[in-house]
């Protein structure tokens, strides 16, 4: 399947879902449009456009264009690291989780232990000072109180 067809079918599914949700929320009347009015018609428009895209796309695998499969695992690692950061943030506290996050990514990029640990430490403390102490952002604290 060509990439346009894949993405078109995906958005068609999204559109059907939105339209169904819109119906469930009640369309209301034209005199007094209800909460489902906009989602429903938004879904209908998206659905029609998706169908146009799918119909117009070539059936076979179109040559050219960017490769879908990444050349390496780094984007996947980054996605995982960001999710891990968010899940641990309120458990371990800002400073600890930031240190671990930076240490992990820098080590995976084959930076030396010394460089990674020093940069991660400086980054975690630096951001704490900048955001928490100076800009007064409320960052989550861990069991140790920072």
């Amino acid at each position: 399947m060509s990439r346009d067809r894949v993405s078109g079918l995906f958005w068609l599914a999204v559109a059907l879902f939105a339209a169904a949700q819109g119906l469930a929320l009640k369309l209301g009347s034209l005199h007094r449009p209800g909460p489902g009015f906009f989602p429903f018609w938004g879904g209908v428009v998206l659905g029609l456009l998706s169908i146009v895209l799918v119909v117009r796309s070539p059936a076979g695998n179109a040559p050219g264009g960017a490769r879908l499969r990444p050349d390496n695992a780094r984007p996947v690692v980054a996605v995982g690291a960001v999710l891990g950061y968010l899940l641990l943030l309120e458990v371990l506290g800002f400073v600890a989780v930031t240190f671990l996050f930076l240490l992990l990514l820098l080590r995976l990029e084959r930076r030396s232990w010394t460089f990674s640990a020093a940069s991660a430490g400086a980054g975690a403390v630096g951001c704490y000072v900048l955001f928490q102490l100076w800009l007064k952002t409320q960052l989550p604290t861990g069991p140790l109180g920072f």
Partner: protein, 494 residues
Amino acid sequence: MEIFGGVLYGFQVALQPINLLYCFIGVFIGTLVGVLPGLGPAAAIALLLPSTFAASPVAAIIMLAGIYYGAMYGGSTTSILVNIPGEAASVVTCLDGHAMARQGRAGAALGIAAFGSFIAGTLSVIALTFLAPFLARVTLRFGPPEYFALMTLGLMLLTFFARESTVKTLMMAAVGLLCGTVGQDTISGRFRFAFGIRTLEDGLGLVPVIMGLFGISEVLLNLEQREQQREIFAPPTTALFPTREDWRASTVPILRGSVLGFFLGILPGAGAIIASFASYAVEKRASRHPERFGAGAIEGVAGPEAANNAAAGGAFIPLLTLGIPANAVMAILLGALMIHGLQPGPLLVKQAPDVFWGIITSMYIGNAMLLVLNLPLIPMWARLLRVPYTVMYPFILLFCLIGAYSVANSVGDGIVMWVFGIVGYLLKKFDYEGAPLILAMVIGPMMEEALRQSLILSAGSFEIFVSRPIAAGFLAAAVILLVLPLVRRRSLPA
């Protein structure tokens, strides 16, 4: 003399030491994100938005605006010295700017980019000064039908200027409109697409969505490519001033770029990127030696760099006079104004003249600061560019995480950013653009309200959009924009 009084008042506001400081911080950070490839002004402003909560609205907006036009200055530095655009609007500057650097004329290229940016930035602020209050008076009379028609026109303009296919751009706009409906419906109070999740009940946050689409996804795409050895041309410490010959060649392109950029900046979806490309095309066509373009023609640096700065000024017009954002950056500024309790739109000049005039006049000051700041700092930026991306990206991700979290101290917002980071990555892979999604997401709730109010006004008749001349005019223009590409394609042999 209402404008004169306004400008005078604006300077009184903008010259207060605290506002000067914020202006300076803004343009400095702006230059920094402009210089650094892989971190654009939209993500940077989204990141810093929470840190302005404690500041006064004027100071906050002055700083955030400074990041935007400051980035336009910084982007050229990286284009010229490294041949990588520091920022999307500086892509064309690579062509001739880097060629000039290879010929040992990096100084002249950097110099003309800075001066051109300054001239265009200032000219566009002058135009903004005169045009904005006038337009605000005109748009004061707009009712819901006019607003709905105007926003429809805006979305159509978006597709007209889109780089990807019309169908895909319209699809992204539709997805954005749907994203905008997430959360509580303002009229009925019902929750939509929330599925009982706290974060979604408040609606999708603009900051996390932008950080995801423009911050995280950009990092993911960059990570995929193998790191190239960057060749950085040692920045000249002297000879940053263009020669008289350079000036002769550049003056007209700068002026043309300013006018072109300003008007393209006003239009939704066009903005700085299109303006810089358009200026390059115009200069190449106007030149008596088009073959020099790509081989170090100074006009090819001066015109586009002027255009992208002028566009940054023009983009403030729809925000300040209509409350409608012309691009993703303006969408965040709109959010920032609302967080600070201000309603952007025609009433802003009356309700908060300090903000309205303060922002505008701060741009005169900011542009002057940038001119003074930019050239001496170039050696520092060049050193920064030697930091490898493998060391830089963990910090960019970290800043995005802090930014998304700190808007509402919510991990949920971080998850929204994470999801939109993956979505943005996939969108690029499948040749979709993220910008129409963002714009539609911001405009969506306003558009829905205007549509529903119009229909309530007219007792359910769509005639209201045709019988009111201004609304009808906007809608007619929207239809023309939609049909035009189809007609054009027919008339051209495939």
